[in-house]
Amino acid sequence: MSSSSDAKMQNLLDAITVALQHDDDIEPIINKSNISHEEIDGLASVIQSLHTAFTPIAPSAKFANNLHAELMGTRPRRVVSTVRHLPARVHVAAIITIVAGFGLLVLRRLMGDTTPQDIVDEPLAV
């Protein structure tokens, strides 16, 4: 395919895509082009399928309003949301720290609450 026919085809594909997005009939566009149905039909069918498959997803009104308020500073940012936005490695580090701290507390409780000071204060057996 030459570069000029490539460009014609690319423009036609673009026009078909835009027409479908505006719910316009694509048949007149194809007929007006100098490209045969045989060449374009397969591609037009793919565009049609993509157009059907992809539908924009709207955010919830609650989310949109809350985020707007947080950005404008009229609503404090939620701690949970701030924590969730941290990178995964920070989450892992935080979990390890919490588990290690808890483990240390349990260990000390099992060892009878002995502190280095207790050992120092303990009278030496003569």
Binding site: T52, A53, F54, I57
Partner: protein, 204 residues
């Protein structure tokens, strides 16, 4: 009150460049930019993460990041919209890396909802076709998947997509053409394989 109404009205009339300049010192100007672009950015992220919670988290991060960096933003050929999409693209890429997930568009759950047919037979047929289409899209390189999202979900022009993907308008047109050819060939191959399998199954 009247002053606010006038100000709000004037924000709506301003173009992005003017709003960005104002937004450097004025949160309400940023609020107008947020209203213009948040739904599109959300939709883009939603299709790239496949779930509402992560889409909401990442959308929030995009706008907090944009707000904190807007003071340094200078339009050097990259319009504000493209700048926002680039932030979203980078955050989604980091998200995929952190999650260790494949960079695919997980659309399968949403396709069924978008089918417009009402007949059960037709619905099943459409659903099967859409499934094949999605499989074919999953096999495309990431940049082609991104192009399809920007074109069909956000309905951006080739020039706008070019700004986001750092390519010329012509390069985007060409990439779109090649993407459609790949999809068509892939779907035809699947169809061919399915046709070849049928007689064997009947014989068995």
């Amino acid at each position: 009150m009247m002053k606010n109404i006038f100000r709000r009205k004037s924000y709506k009339d301003l173009d992005d460049t003017e709003l960005v300049q104002l937004a450097k010192d004025d949160k309400e100007a940023f609020g107008e930019l947020y209203e213009r672009y948040m739904p599109k950015i959300y939709s883009y992220i939603y299709y790239r993460t496949s779930n509402q919670h992560d889409a909401e988290d990442l959308t929030a991060r995009v706008f907090f990041r944009a707000m904190s960096h807007i003071g340094n933003y200078v339009d050097k050929g990259v319009p504000f919209q493209a700048w926002l999409y680039r932030i979203a693209h980078n955050l989604v890429a980091n998200w995929h890396r952190d999650q260790g997930r494949r960079k695919v568009i997980p659309l399968d759950d949403y396709v069924v909802h978008s089918l417009k047919s009402e007949s059960p037979d037709r619905l099943a047929e459409d659903s099967e076709e859409q499934e094949k289409l999605m499989e074919a899209i999953h096999r495309l390189p990431e940049e082609r998947q991104q192009l399809l999202l920007l074109k069909f979900i956000d309905q951006l022009s080739n020039a706008e997509i070019g700004d986001i993907m750092d390519r010329t308008e012509g390069a985007i047109k060409s990439l779109y053409h090649r993407t459609l050819l790949s999809l068509r060939d892939e779907l035809q191959m699947q169809e061919h394989q399915a046709t070849n399998r049928r007689p064997k199954q009947n014989k068995g």
